[in-house]
Structures are given as structure tokens and as C-alpha cells.
Symmetry: C2
Subunit: 259 residues, 2 copies
Amino acid sequence: MPTYRLVVEYDGTDFHGFQYQPQLRTVAGVLEGALCSLFHSEIPVAAAGRTDAGVHATGQVVSFKAAKEFPGERLSLALNATLPPDVSVREGGIAPPGFSARFDAYERIYEYLILNRAMPSAVLRRWTHHVHRPLDEAELARIGRAMVGTHDFLAFCGVTPEFGGTVRTVNAFDVEREGDIVRIRIAGEGFLHRMVRIAIGTAIEIATGRRHEDMATIIASRDRQRAGYTAPAEGLFLAGVRYADFETYWRPGIAYVGG
Amino acid sequence: MPTYRLVVEYDGTDFHGFQYQPQLRTVAGVLEGALCSLFHSEIPVAAAGRTDAGVHATGQVVSFKAAKEFPGERLSLALNATLPPDVSVREGGIAPPGFSARFDAYERIYEYLILNRAMPSAVLRRWTHHVHRPLDEAELARIGRAMVGTHDFLAFCGVTPEFGGTVRTVNAFDVEREGDIVRIRIAGEGFLHRMVRIAIGTAIEIATGRRHEDMATIIASRDRQRAGYTAPAEGLFLAGVRYADFETYWRPGIAYVGG
């Protein structure tokens, strides 16, 4: 029974997140529906990142086992013909036996887009968080750097996990500006529920002078009350995932070059 | 009574076009509603381009007269606070007396985005037309160049106008590729109803070998039946408008830089 993997892109706006939930429209539900009509059997999928409601993906990786053999390109085309327009398969193929998109991933790369100017944008609103106060990208990068390393991130945790604790390792927190867009890239082995968005909300509050503790002190406090707001889902993309034999990275971004 | 002008951006997906239509959600209807709640009177707006249902704008220009004086920045912020998220004012201010966004414009710049690869894209679907057959951008530019100049464009006309005839002047037809995105820029004094989209559909059919007449012959025929399909609205943006004393241009685009 071959194991498949897919690189999947989605517009998270109209989904209640990745994970299957009865009665709700989820990315897993839609993918499993398409796999069912293709393979004529119920096929559960595993994903590198179980993204929340409203979060997008450009480089999500999904794995599943199925009885039939399908060449990768044909599988992708057949799935895209069945999937709704807000989910698409970028590539698909047979993975090494026993491959798990979830358990074999050693790094997840999330990117967060902020529209940083006075005026909102009708076209960008679906993909960015609008922050009207000026953000200094070097300052934001300096603040975020306190996350890099292995820490107990309980302060940035939405729902305390039942298993596995709240210690995580963050590999990078980078910030760049492209015109009015500030892009934050956070990479790590794995993240707690809402951790990326709470960290970004906290960093924005510190950078704009609305929160006076520094990031390292907030992390050390292990107190969710001392961290900032949860930055909204629409700015967040799961952009890439790394495995020993395979990696994906598709930079999300909407470039406005004004004149 | 001061004349105002606004630079307006919108996501056309959920609008029945720009022009006011009773019972339907239009950009003009939404703008006039916001102006009414701000100025407490009915204020009709004029626009540089009366975009069709589903067409977007990054650089639309709108003008109106109102009794009250408002500083430009305050006007924009007040309107943005009232407008729905899929329309936004990028800037606003007082225009020279008698300014008309519609009649004073001497050039409109439309841009059309094509996603040109085998696989569709969930994130880009709202802003691009998916063409899976390979397009050669130099060939597309060569084909489109036949439009430049003053011609009778009846062959590219959706609905024959009652007034004004079907002769128009096209100033430029440029094509560039950015990864999987092919961008077409068409500039001209004005365009017939659906002219830009029919011209692009025709150029795509010629470039992909599905139509064997050349563009100049099709234009000269003045026969809509000999032209191609109407390229879908979601790829089209009104990007800029030029006036004697003022111009706007905001390049729409979604940049995916893969790796």
C-alpha cells in the first residue's frame, strides 16, 4: 500500500482550520472528500501543520496511504479537478514507505504579513493584518530574537496541551519590509496552539510602545496575561516544511510596487 | 462647494461592478452610502473607469462635490471607518474646481494577471486567470502589439455603444513574466465595454494555437464572432489613471517566489 505526500495550498478564509471537525468545513474534510471520490475508500490524512481557522498555507504537506498506485502528476490533476477552488494541490507523489507528514517534519516555517500604513487595503485585507502605527522592522527583529532557542513558551500558549509540555525550540525570527508590507518569518521544530500569533501580537505591542516589558521577561514569566493580543489569522501562512529527504517552501506575498 | 477626488482600491469579487444599480451591491453604491453618512446628503460619484462585475481596482479615481470642507487625510480615514473591508480609500483630497474623474482622464491603465502553470492556486484564484497551457510572453506581446494605435475595435466590443462609436486609441500593450504569473498591461484613452478582456482572451487563443487568424485581421474584420473568449473578470485590475495635474498607478500583483 503506497504512502503518498501532497504539497497543498489553501486560502484559509472560509475554513474552520485544517483538522477534521464534524459538520464544519475544514481543509482535512475537503481533502478526505476528494480522496474518497478518487480512491473509493475512506482515507485519513496527516498534515505537517494543523493550522487554525482562517490561517492560510502555501507549503502545507499532507500524507496518506492508499491501495491504488497513481503517478504523481495524474494524482494532483485528478484531485485539483475535484477540490473546491480555495484548496489546491501544488505537487503530489509517492513518499518513502511509512512517511508521515506530521511526525517526520523537523522544521515548520510560518510567515506573517502585516500591512503597515495608515490606510487599509481592500485587496490585501484577506492576506494581511493591518497595523496603522509605524513599525520599525529592525526593532521588531530585535524583539523577536528573544524567542530563538529552546524555551518554555507557556506565556504564548492559547490552550495548554494535555501532552508534550510547553517547551519548544524556535530556530529563526526574521523580519523584512517590502514597501508597506512587513513580513515576519518564524521557523521552528513545532509550535504550541496560537503560539506564533500570540508572539507576533506581543512583538507588535512592544514595538509600538504599548507594552513595556521585554520579550525575554514575558517568556520567562510563563504567564499568558503578560503577553499581548493574538495577531489575527488572516496574516498567517504555513509557508514551508522540512523533512530529511524533502522540503517545501513557497513564499506567500502580495507585492504592491507603487508609483 | 469643493470638488473632491479619491484614489480607491477594491476587491471586485463581491460587487456587481462599479456603476450604481438598484438592489445590487456596487462599488458606487457603497461609496455613495459612506459619503451620505459623512456629509448627510446624497452625493453622486463619477469614476475614471466603470469596471464590470468581478473586476478589481488598485488605482481607481472617483470625484464628487460636497458642501462641507474636509482635510484630505481626515476624509480618507472617516470613509475607511465606514466602508466595508473590500473597498478602501488610499488617499483623498480637494481637486481643482470642476474636476471630473471621468471626463478629465486622458489615460486608463489596466493590468491583467494570468497564472500560467499546470496546477491551479487556491491563494491566487481570486486575482488571476488560470491558463494551464504554456504561454510565451514575447509571443503574447507581439500579438497584442497589433492593438496599439487608433482602430475601430467593434470586434472586441461586448455591447455596441449607443453613442461615441467604436473607435478607440490604445497606447500600450506590454507583457512581462514573474515566475508563474504573466502580467499584461494595456493603456489607452478609453475602452469599449469588455474590450480589454476580449482582447486578452483573443491574444491567449492565438498564442496557444487555438485561433489561427492574426490580431490585426481580427480587428479589421469588425466581427465579434472572429475574436476569442472574454477572459474572466478576476484577472483584471484598473491599476492607474492619468490626468493633466494628477496620476495614480498601483501595480497589483501577488508575488510567489518559490524555492
